[in-house]
Symmetry: C2
Subunit: 207 residues, 2 copies
Protein backbone atom coordinates (compact mmCIF):
# COMPACT_ATOMS: atom_id res chain seq x y z
CA UNK A 1 0.00 0.00 0.00
CA UNK A 2 2.88 2.38 0.78
CA UNK A 3 4.40 1.82 -2.63
CA UNK A 4 1.05 2.12 -4.46
CA UNK A 5 0.31 5.44 -2.73
CA UNK A 6 3.78 6.79 -3.50
CA UNK A 7 3.49 5.79 -7.18
CA UNK A 8 0.07 7.45 -7.43
CA UNK A 9 1.34 10.62 -5.72
CA UNK A 10 4.25 10.76 -8.17
CA UNK A 11 2.07 9.89 -11.17
CA UNK A 12 4.26 6.93 -12.09
CA UNK A 13 2.58 4.18 -14.08
CA UNK A 14 3.49 0.60 -13.30
CA UNK A 15 2.46 -2.84 -14.37
CA UNK A 16 0.98 -4.21 -11.18
CA UNK A 17 1.14 -7.91 -10.31
CA UNK A 18 -0.76 -9.20 -7.31
CA UNK A 19 0.47 -12.20 -5.32
CA UNK A 20 -2.39 -14.61 -4.76
CA UNK A 21 -1.07 -15.92 -1.45
CA UNK A 22 1.48 -14.01 0.60
CA UNK A 23 1.42 -16.43 3.53
CA UNK A 24 2.73 -19.72 2.18
CA UNK A 25 6.09 -19.79 0.37
CA UNK A 26 4.93 -22.71 -1.79
CA UNK A 27 2.10 -20.59 -3.23
CA UNK A 28 4.30 -17.59 -4.04
CA UNK A 29 5.10 -16.80 -7.67
CA UNK A 30 8.44 -17.66 -9.22
CA UNK A 31 8.82 -13.97 -10.00
CA UNK A 32 8.56 -13.03 -6.32
CA UNK A 33 10.85 -15.82 -5.11
CA UNK A 34 13.49 -14.91 -7.69
CA UNK A 35 13.18 -11.17 -7.13
CA UNK A 36 13.38 -11.25 -3.35
CA UNK A 37 15.11 -14.52 -2.42
CA UNK A 38 16.18 -13.18 0.98
CA UNK A 39 12.79 -12.21 2.43
CA UNK A 40 10.38 -13.76 -0.16
CA UNK A 41 8.03 -10.87 0.60
CA UNK A 42 6.06 -8.22 -1.24
CA UNK A 43 6.43 -5.44 -2.21
CA UNK A 44 9.08 -5.68 -4.91
CA UNK A 45 9.64 -2.96 -7.47
CA UNK A 46 11.33 -3.99 -10.71
CA UNK A 47 12.80 -1.00 -12.54
CA UNK A 48 15.21 -1.18 -15.49
CA UNK A 49 15.65 -4.89 -14.78
CA UNK A 50 16.78 -4.28 -11.19
CA UNK A 51 14.79 -5.30 -8.16
CA UNK A 52 14.22 -3.13 -5.11
CA UNK A 53 12.71 -4.73 -2.00
CA UNK A 54 11.23 -3.54 1.32
CA UNK A 55 8.60 -0.82 1.25
CA UNK A 56 10.57 2.03 2.86
CA UNK A 57 13.59 1.36 0.65
CA UNK A 58 11.32 1.42 -2.40
CA UNK A 59 9.83 4.76 -1.29
CA UNK A 60 13.29 6.30 -0.95
CA UNK A 61 14.28 4.85 -4.33
CA UNK A 62 11.17 6.23 -6.03
CA UNK A 63 11.79 9.66 -4.52
CA UNK A 64 15.44 9.68 -5.62
CA UNK A 65 14.80 8.45 -9.18
CA UNK A 66 11.71 10.56 -9.98
CA UNK A 67 13.05 13.83 -8.59
CA UNK A 68 11.03 16.08 -10.89
CA UNK A 69 7.70 15.03 -9.42
CA UNK A 70 6.37 16.06 -6.02
CA UNK A 71 9.05 15.17 -3.47
CA UNK A 72 7.94 12.74 -0.75
CA UNK A 73 11.00 13.45 1.38
CA UNK A 74 11.82 16.87 2.78
CA UNK A 75 15.09 18.41 1.50
CA UNK A 76 16.10 19.21 5.09
CA UNK A 77 18.39 16.53 6.61
CA UNK A 78 16.85 16.90 10.08
CA UNK A 79 13.29 16.52 8.76
CA UNK A 80 14.44 13.49 6.78
CA UNK A 81 16.04 11.98 9.89
CA UNK A 82 12.87 12.65 11.86
CA UNK A 83 10.66 10.97 9.24
CA UNK A 84 13.02 7.98 9.16
CA UNK A 85 12.94 7.79 12.96
CA UNK A 86 9.15 7.57 13.12
CA UNK A 87 8.92 5.07 10.29
CA UNK A 88 11.51 2.94 12.07
CA UNK A 89 9.49 3.30 15.30
CA UNK A 90 6.36 2.20 13.46
CA UNK A 91 8.05 -0.77 11.77
CA UNK A 92 9.85 -1.95 14.92
CA UNK A 93 7.21 -1.36 17.59
CA UNK A 94 3.73 -0.92 16.17
CA UNK A 95 3.70 -3.65 13.49
CA UNK A 96 4.46 -6.52 15.87
CA UNK A 97 2.09 -5.13 18.50
CA UNK A 98 -0.72 -4.74 15.94
CA UNK A 99 -0.35 -8.36 14.89
CA UNK A 100 -1.11 -9.44 18.46
CA UNK A 101 -4.41 -7.53 18.34
CA UNK A 102 -5.84 -10.14 15.97
CA UNK A 103 -3.44 -13.10 16.32
CA UNK A 104 -3.52 -13.49 20.10
CA UNK A 105 -6.20 -13.72 22.77
CA UNK A 106 -6.86 -13.22 26.48
CA UNK A 107 -4.20 -11.46 28.52
CA UNK A 108 -1.72 -11.22 25.64
CA UNK A 109 -4.33 -9.48 23.49
CA UNK A 110 -5.26 -7.17 26.38
CA UNK A 111 -1.63 -6.16 26.92
CA UNK A 112 -1.20 -5.60 23.18
CA UNK A 113 -4.27 -3.35 23.17
CA UNK A 114 -2.85 -1.15 25.97
CA UNK A 115 0.50 -0.97 24.20
CA UNK A 116 -1.09 -0.23 20.83
CA UNK A 117 -3.11 2.68 22.22
CA UNK A 118 0.02 4.01 23.92
CA UNK A 119 1.85 3.91 20.57
CA UNK A 120 -1.03 5.66 18.81
CA UNK A 121 -0.89 8.42 21.43
CA UNK A 122 2.84 8.82 20.86
CA UNK A 123 2.10 9.23 17.15
CA UNK A 124 -0.76 11.65 17.84
CA UNK A 125 1.58 13.68 20.01
CA UNK A 126 4.13 13.77 17.18
CA UNK A 127 1.39 14.91 14.76
CA UNK A 128 0.42 17.70 17.15
CA UNK A 129 -1.57 20.48 15.47
CA UNK A 130 -0.06 19.87 12.03
CA UNK A 131 -2.34 18.71 9.20
CA UNK A 132 0.23 16.10 8.15
CA UNK A 133 3.15 14.47 9.95
CA UNK A 134 5.71 16.33 7.86
CA UNK A 135 3.88 19.67 8.22
CA UNK A 136 1.62 21.25 5.60
CA UNK A 137 2.11 18.59 2.93
CA UNK A 138 1.20 14.94 2.65
CA UNK A 139 4.60 13.24 2.46
CA UNK A 140 6.72 10.22 3.28
CA UNK A 141 5.72 9.70 6.91
CA UNK A 142 2.01 9.98 6.07
CA UNK A 143 2.46 7.41 3.31
CA UNK A 144 4.27 5.05 5.65
CA UNK A 145 1.69 5.32 8.44
CA UNK A 146 -1.66 5.53 6.64
CA UNK A 147 -1.96 1.87 5.47
CA UNK A 148 -2.43 0.46 8.97
CA UNK A 149 -5.47 2.71 9.52
CA UNK A 150 -7.62 0.52 7.25
CA UNK A 151 -7.26 -2.11 9.99
CA UNK A 152 -8.43 0.18 12.81
CA UNK A 153 -12.02 -1.03 12.40
CA UNK A 154 -10.86 -4.66 12.76
CA UNK A 155 -8.78 -3.91 15.85
CA UNK A 156 -11.64 -1.92 17.40
CA UNK A 157 -14.10 -4.76 16.85
CA UNK A 158 -11.78 -7.50 18.10
CA UNK A 159 -10.35 -5.62 21.10
CA UNK A 160 -13.22 -3.29 21.98
CA UNK A 161 -11.85 0.22 21.83
CA UNK A 162 -12.37 3.35 19.76
CA UNK A 163 -9.45 5.13 18.09
CA UNK A 164 -11.79 8.14 17.65
CA UNK A 165 -12.25 8.38 21.44
CA UNK A 166 -8.60 7.71 22.31
CA UNK A 167 -6.90 9.73 19.55
CA UNK A 168 -9.37 12.17 17.93
CA UNK A 169 -6.65 14.22 16.19
CA UNK A 170 -5.12 11.12 14.68
CA UNK A 171 -8.54 10.21 13.27
CA UNK A 172 -8.86 13.71 11.78
CA UNK A 173 -5.56 13.06 10.04
CA UNK A 174 -6.87 9.68 8.78
CA UNK A 175 -9.91 11.41 7.26
CA UNK A 176 -7.72 14.17 5.80
CA UNK A 177 -5.46 11.59 4.12
CA UNK A 178 -8.44 9.62 2.83
CA UNK A 179 -9.58 12.68 0.88
CA UNK A 180 -6.58 12.16 -1.39
CA UNK A 181 -7.12 9.95 -4.43
CA UNK A 182 -3.80 8.17 -3.88
CA UNK A 183 -4.99 6.98 -0.46
CA UNK A 184 -8.67 6.32 -1.13
CA UNK A 185 -7.83 4.35 -4.29
CA UNK A 186 -5.27 2.23 -2.44
CA UNK A 187 -6.66 1.43 1.00
CA UNK A 188 -9.21 -1.40 1.03
CA UNK A 189 -12.65 -1.07 2.61
CA UNK A 190 -12.25 -1.57 6.41
CA UNK A 191 -15.26 -3.93 6.44
CA UNK A 192 -13.59 -6.17 3.86
CA UNK A 193 -10.37 -6.08 5.87
CA UNK A 194 -12.35 -7.26 8.89
CA UNK A 195 -13.84 -10.18 6.93
CA UNK A 196 -10.39 -11.08 5.63
CA UNK A 197 -8.87 -11.07 9.13
CA UNK A 198 -11.71 -13.30 10.39
CA UNK A 199 -10.90 -15.75 7.60
CA UNK A 200 -7.18 -15.71 8.44
CA UNK A 201 -8.03 -16.33 12.10
CA UNK A 202 -10.09 -19.36 11.05
CA UNK A 203 -7.36 -20.62 8.73
CA UNK A 204 -4.77 -20.51 11.50
CA UNK A 205 -7.29 -21.59 14.14
CA UNK A 206 -6.96 -18.46 16.28
CA UNK A 207 -10.33 -18.23 18.00
Amino acid sequence: MRVKIALLEKGIEVQYKEEKDVFEDKNKSELLLNSNPIHKKVPVLIHNGKTICESLIILEYIDEVWKQEQQLFSADPYCRANARFWIDFFDKKITSCAKKLWASKGEEQGAAKEEFLEFLKVLENELGEKPYFGGDHFALLDIALIPITCRFYTYEKLCKFSVEEECPKLMEWVRRCNMRDSVSKTLPDPLKVFDFVLEVKKRYQIE
Copy 2:
Protein backbone atom coordinates in the same frame (compact mmCIF):
# COMPACT_ATOMS: atom_id res chain seq x y z
CA MET B 1 30.72 2.21 16.61
CA ARG B 2 28.99 2.91 13.28
CA VAL B 3 28.64 6.57 14.13
CA LYS B 4 32.21 6.88 15.45
CA ILE B 5 33.62 5.34 12.26
CA ALA B 6 31.50 7.61 10.06
CA LEU B 7 32.58 10.72 11.98
CA LEU B 8 36.24 9.71 11.70
CA GLU B 9 35.89 8.99 7.97
CA LYS B 10 34.31 12.42 7.48
CA GLY B 11 36.81 14.14 9.77
CA ILE B 12 34.06 15.61 11.93
CA GLU B 13 35.03 16.44 15.50
CA VAL B 14 32.52 15.75 18.24
CA GLN B 15 32.35 15.96 21.99
CA TYR B 16 31.94 12.32 22.93
CA LYS B 17 30.00 11.24 26.00
CA GLU B 18 30.05 7.61 27.05
CA GLU B 19 27.10 6.02 28.84
CA LYS B 20 28.35 4.07 31.86
CA ASP B 21 25.57 1.50 31.77
CA VAL B 22 23.50 0.90 28.65
CA PHE B 23 21.56 -2.03 30.13
CA GLU B 24 19.55 -0.59 33.02
CA ASP B 25 17.29 2.41 32.40
CA LYS B 26 17.79 3.60 35.98
CA ASN B 27 21.56 3.97 35.38
CA LYS B 28 21.20 5.90 32.13
CA SER B 29 22.08 9.59 32.03
CA GLU B 30 19.40 12.29 32.08
CA LEU B 31 20.87 13.51 28.80
CA LEU B 32 20.25 10.16 27.11
CA LEU B 33 16.75 9.72 28.55
CA ASN B 34 15.76 13.24 27.49
CA SER B 35 17.38 12.98 24.06
CA ASN B 36 15.91 9.62 23.12
CA PRO B 37 12.78 9.18 25.27
CA ILE B 38 11.27 6.66 22.83
CA HIS B 39 14.04 4.06 22.74
CA LYS B 40 16.32 5.26 25.61
CA LYS B 41 19.24 3.89 23.60
CA VAL B 42 22.62 5.01 22.32
CA PRO B 43 23.80 6.32 19.92
CA VAL B 44 22.35 9.81 19.93
CA LEU B 45 23.87 12.65 17.90
CA ILE B 46 23.11 16.17 19.08
CA HIS B 47 23.73 18.72 16.33
CA ASN B 48 22.62 22.37 16.42
CA GLY B 49 20.48 21.55 19.45
CA LYS B 50 18.56 18.82 17.61
CA THR B 51 18.79 15.14 18.46
CA ILE B 52 19.12 12.36 15.92
CA CYS B 53 18.69 8.77 17.10
CA GLU B 54 19.32 5.28 15.68
CA SER B 55 22.69 4.53 14.11
CA LEU B 56 21.64 4.17 10.47
CA ILE B 57 19.55 7.33 10.60
CA ILE B 58 22.53 9.18 12.09
CA LEU B 59 24.79 7.90 9.29
CA GLU B 60 22.38 9.16 6.63
CA TYR B 61 22.09 12.49 8.47
CA ILE B 62 25.88 12.89 8.70
CA ASP B 63 26.24 12.12 5.00
CA GLU B 64 23.54 14.61 4.03
CA VAL B 65 24.79 17.46 6.26
CA TRP B 66 28.54 17.12 5.60
CA LYS B 67 28.28 16.75 1.83
CA GLN B 68 31.70 18.22 1.06
CA GLU B 69 33.58 15.39 2.75
CA GLN B 70 33.97 11.87 1.39
CA GLN B 71 30.46 10.56 0.67
CA LEU B 72 29.48 7.41 2.55
CA PHE B 73 26.47 6.81 0.34
CA SER B 74 26.68 6.22 -3.40
CA ALA B 75 25.00 8.87 -5.57
CA ASP B 76 23.26 6.12 -7.54
CA PRO B 77 19.71 5.40 -6.29
CA TYR B 78 19.98 1.67 -6.97
CA CYS B 79 23.29 1.36 -5.08
CA ARG B 80 21.74 3.32 -2.23
CA ALA B 81 18.71 1.02 -2.20
CA ASN B 82 21.02 -2.01 -2.23
CA ALA B 83 23.06 -0.71 0.72
CA ARG B 84 19.87 0.04 2.66
CA PHE B 85 18.57 -3.44 1.88
CA TRP B 86 21.64 -5.18 3.32
CA ILE B 87 21.77 -2.94 6.39
CA ASP B 88 18.10 -3.70 6.99
CA PHE B 89 18.85 -7.42 6.53
CA PHE B 90 21.67 -7.16 9.05
CA ASP B 91 19.59 -5.23 11.59
CA LYS B 92 16.53 -7.45 11.26
CA LYS B 93 18.09 -10.88 10.94
CA ILE B 94 21.70 -11.00 12.08
CA THR B 95 21.52 -8.85 15.24
CA SER B 96 18.89 -10.97 16.98
CA CYS B 97 20.56 -14.18 15.85
CA ALA B 98 23.98 -12.99 17.11
CA LYS B 99 22.54 -12.25 20.53
CA LYS B 100 21.52 -15.89 20.86
CA LEU B 101 25.14 -16.95 20.28
CA TRP B 102 26.07 -15.65 23.73
CA ALA B 103 22.71 -15.28 25.51
CA SER B 104 21.34 -18.77 24.93
CA LYS B 105 22.61 -22.30 25.37
CA GLY B 106 22.12 -25.89 24.20
CA GLU B 107 19.89 -26.46 21.19
CA GLU B 108 18.87 -22.81 20.87
CA GLN B 109 22.53 -21.78 20.71
CA GLY B 110 23.27 -24.54 18.21
CA ALA B 111 20.44 -23.45 15.94
CA ALA B 112 21.58 -19.82 16.22
CA LYS B 113 25.10 -20.86 15.22
CA GLU B 114 23.84 -22.59 12.06
CA GLU B 115 21.69 -19.59 11.19
CA PHE B 116 24.48 -17.12 11.91
CA LEU B 117 26.91 -18.93 9.61
CA GLU B 118 24.24 -19.05 6.91
CA PHE B 119 23.77 -15.27 7.23
CA LEU B 120 27.54 -14.69 7.05
CA LYS B 121 27.65 -16.73 3.86
CA VAL B 122 24.86 -14.64 2.39
CA LEU B 123 26.92 -11.55 3.18
CA GLU B 124 30.09 -13.12 1.78
CA ASN B 125 28.22 -13.92 -1.40
CA GLU B 126 27.05 -10.29 -1.63
CA LEU B 127 30.66 -9.11 -1.12
CA GLY B 128 31.82 -11.42 -3.92
CA GLU B 129 35.22 -10.42 -5.33
CA LYS B 130 34.86 -6.75 -4.43
CA PRO B 131 37.28 -5.25 -1.90
CA TYR B 132 34.38 -3.49 -0.13
CA PHE B 133 30.63 -4.06 -0.09
CA GLY B 134 29.94 -0.96 -2.13
CA GLY B 135 32.74 -1.71 -4.62
CA ASP B 136 36.18 -0.10 -4.61
CA HIS B 137 35.58 2.25 -1.71
CA PHE B 138 34.94 1.78 1.99
CA ALA B 139 31.44 3.17 2.42
CA LEU B 140 28.12 3.01 4.22
CA LEU B 141 27.53 -0.74 4.13
CA ASP B 142 31.05 -1.49 5.33
CA ILE B 143 30.56 0.95 8.22
CA ALA B 144 27.27 -0.66 9.15
CA LEU B 145 28.62 -4.22 9.06
CA ILE B 146 32.14 -3.96 10.47
CA PRO B 147 31.30 -3.38 14.18
CA ILE B 148 29.93 -6.88 14.74
CA THR B 149 33.23 -8.40 13.58
CA CYS B 150 34.93 -7.45 16.87
CA ARG B 151 32.61 -10.04 18.45
CA PHE B 152 33.57 -12.85 16.05
CA TYR B 153 36.27 -14.08 18.48
CA THR B 154 33.68 -14.29 21.27
CA TYR B 155 31.18 -16.15 19.11
CA GLU B 156 33.88 -18.54 17.89
CA LYS B 157 34.98 -19.33 21.45
CA LEU B 158 31.47 -19.76 22.80
CA CYS B 159 30.01 -21.71 19.87
CA LYS B 160 33.09 -23.47 18.52
CA PHE B 161 33.43 -22.42 14.91
CA SER B 162 35.86 -20.46 12.76
CA VAL B 163 34.70 -17.58 10.58
CA GLU B 164 38.04 -17.84 8.75
CA GLU B 165 37.24 -21.43 7.73
CA GLU B 166 33.60 -20.78 6.90
CA CYS B 167 33.94 -17.39 5.18
CA PRO B 168 37.56 -16.68 4.21
CA LYS B 169 36.70 -13.79 1.87
CA LEU B 170 34.64 -12.10 4.54
CA MET B 171 37.64 -12.32 6.89
CA GLU B 172 39.86 -10.76 4.19
CA TRP B 173 37.38 -7.88 4.11
CA VAL B 174 37.53 -7.61 7.93
CA ARG B 175 41.35 -7.32 7.78
CA ARG B 176 41.12 -4.82 4.92
CA CYS B 177 38.71 -2.63 6.90
CA ASN B 178 40.87 -2.87 10.03
CA MET B 179 43.74 -1.29 8.12
CA ARG B 180 41.76 1.96 8.16
CA ASP B 181 42.33 4.28 11.12
CA SER B 182 38.61 4.96 11.47
CA VAL B 183 37.96 1.27 12.09
CA SER B 184 41.04 0.29 14.12
CA LYS B 185 40.60 3.30 16.42
CA THR B 186 36.91 2.47 16.99
CA LEU B 187 36.61 -1.30 17.30
CA PRO B 188 37.57 -2.65 20.73
CA ASP B 189 40.09 -5.46 21.20
CA PRO B 190 38.26 -8.79 20.55
CA LEU B 191 39.81 -10.29 23.70
CA LYS B 192 38.38 -7.48 25.82
CA VAL B 193 35.00 -7.97 24.13
CA PHE B 194 35.17 -11.65 25.12
CA ASP B 195 35.90 -10.77 28.78
CA PHE B 196 33.06 -8.25 28.74
CA VAL B 197 30.59 -10.79 27.34
CA LEU B 198 31.63 -13.33 29.98
CA GLU B 199 30.89 -10.70 32.65
CA VAL B 200 27.50 -9.93 31.15
CA LYS B 201 26.71 -13.66 31.07
CA LYS B 202 27.56 -13.85 34.78
CA ARG B 203 25.53 -10.75 35.58
CA TYR B 204 22.44 -12.19 33.91
CA GLN B 205 23.25 -15.72 35.07
CA ILE B 206 23.53 -17.22 31.59
CA GLU B 207 25.87 -20.15 32.06
